[in-house]
Homo-oligomer: 233 residues x 2
Amino acid sequence: MGQENRYCYKYPRPAVTTDSVIFGFGEGELKVLLIERGIEPFKGRWAFPGGFMEMDEDADTCARRELKEETGLEEVYMEQLYTFSAVDRDPRSRVVSIAYYALVKLSDYVLKAGDDASKAKWFPLSEIPILAFDHQKILQMAVKRLKGKIRYQPIGFELLPEKFTIPDLQRLYESALQTVLDRRNFRKKILKTGLLIDTGEWVADVPHKRAKYYRFDKAKYRVLSEKGFYFEI
Amino acid sequence: MGQENRYCYKYPRPAVTTDSVIFGFGEGELKVLLIERGIEPFKGRWAFPGGFMEMDEDADTCARRELKEETGLEEVYMEQLYTFSAVDRDPRSRVVSIAYYALVKLSDYVLKAGDDASKAKWFPLSEIPILAFDHQKILQMAVKRLKGKIRYQPIGFELLPEKFTIPDLQRLYESALQTVLDRRNFRKKILKTGLLIDTGEWVADVPHKRAKYYRFDKAKYRVLSEKGFYFEI
DNA sequence: CCAAAAGTGTTCTTTATACACCCATGT
DNA sequence: ACATGGGTGTATAAAGAACACTTTTGG
């Protein structure tokens, strides 16, 4: 205890961290989960959840551990994004960050006040504050990746609840891709993939015609994607 | 001199390296450049060029420096691929590797005997030997990425000489994608992009009709890709 | 009865695919 | 003259884009 600098190497080494860009979708727009930093550097600034990699875990494990510790989120869709290694990206010392991005169902995740996650907050993409470190750059890349990927891989479902309507899905696509899509053509394309299962349920308590709820057919998608399934919105 | 373990930290840190998968195209097939390891671990095995990151360089710089030192190659098309961080990927100690892939014009690069590059050799994708570390896994991902990327981004040109014919380009695509393409349709699609410039030169000394040489219009591609140019073979 | 969003088909245009013959050259 | 690979056009099929009205529901 109190023993410092116990780990010595022949050559200098950078510290290795992970940072995760967590996307959610709610109120018709894409959001990102940020944590307010409680310590220097960048104390008080917002940043992505993340932290130092332990020696007995790989980067994926680290990213999931940090995510759980800082936000309570578990078992989310997560993918490696890019590794950021600019020499001066951390003012303290040399730090290499392996960045991830994750897609979560906002409905599964209610921010609890008072616990470790109390400093976590969802920000719409249009209202991102100034971020710590090079996190602005990380965010840019994550958004670009999401936009690129959502067009030809059905990852949109990861952002919606288990049951969702076709108009819900369309709003997500319109928001993510920043375009307007034709209702009839969108429905045709999505149904033609055969990846939606009709749940037989309908939206309730709306002052207009009720939309049907669908589920995403994960098993069928796995089979199709192994066969080289190609899809595009 | 002789002073060891001078760099001490409060927490243990992994070493950080880069490894680069170098693709070339010749004799009608895709090839990869490998280096024979002269030291343990995996002495005598083939591996990708790469090495430890210095504290005053970022990963891109490191990958290019190592590539130059080990093979003499400079100014190649290079992109970050993925970061490999499995706990046991290096038998000596914890090493995180930021992998890159590069595309080079084989014509620009003649292996010189006797210098530092003397242990470098091109291997066709179909004849890859057993590799060191987790390089087999890295190669798999690099090939997957190349196949995916070549379909919708004109990176194929990076693998061909400055001047190339349309049949050359077609052979590259057929080899990379492992398919057979229709000559007439391929030509139409490629020319329709407007990215080929007719050089006015023809192949010489062939016992059949001469093919025209084209150049890739990099400037035009930059303009188009900023405008959201989308292309697919 | 009104406002609001969901559901539904058809036409037209664009793009992709399939396919066969002639041409130029070196040996 | 022959073997080799390069160049070219057209017809058909498939996919994408454009577009308007009716239905259901709560207030």
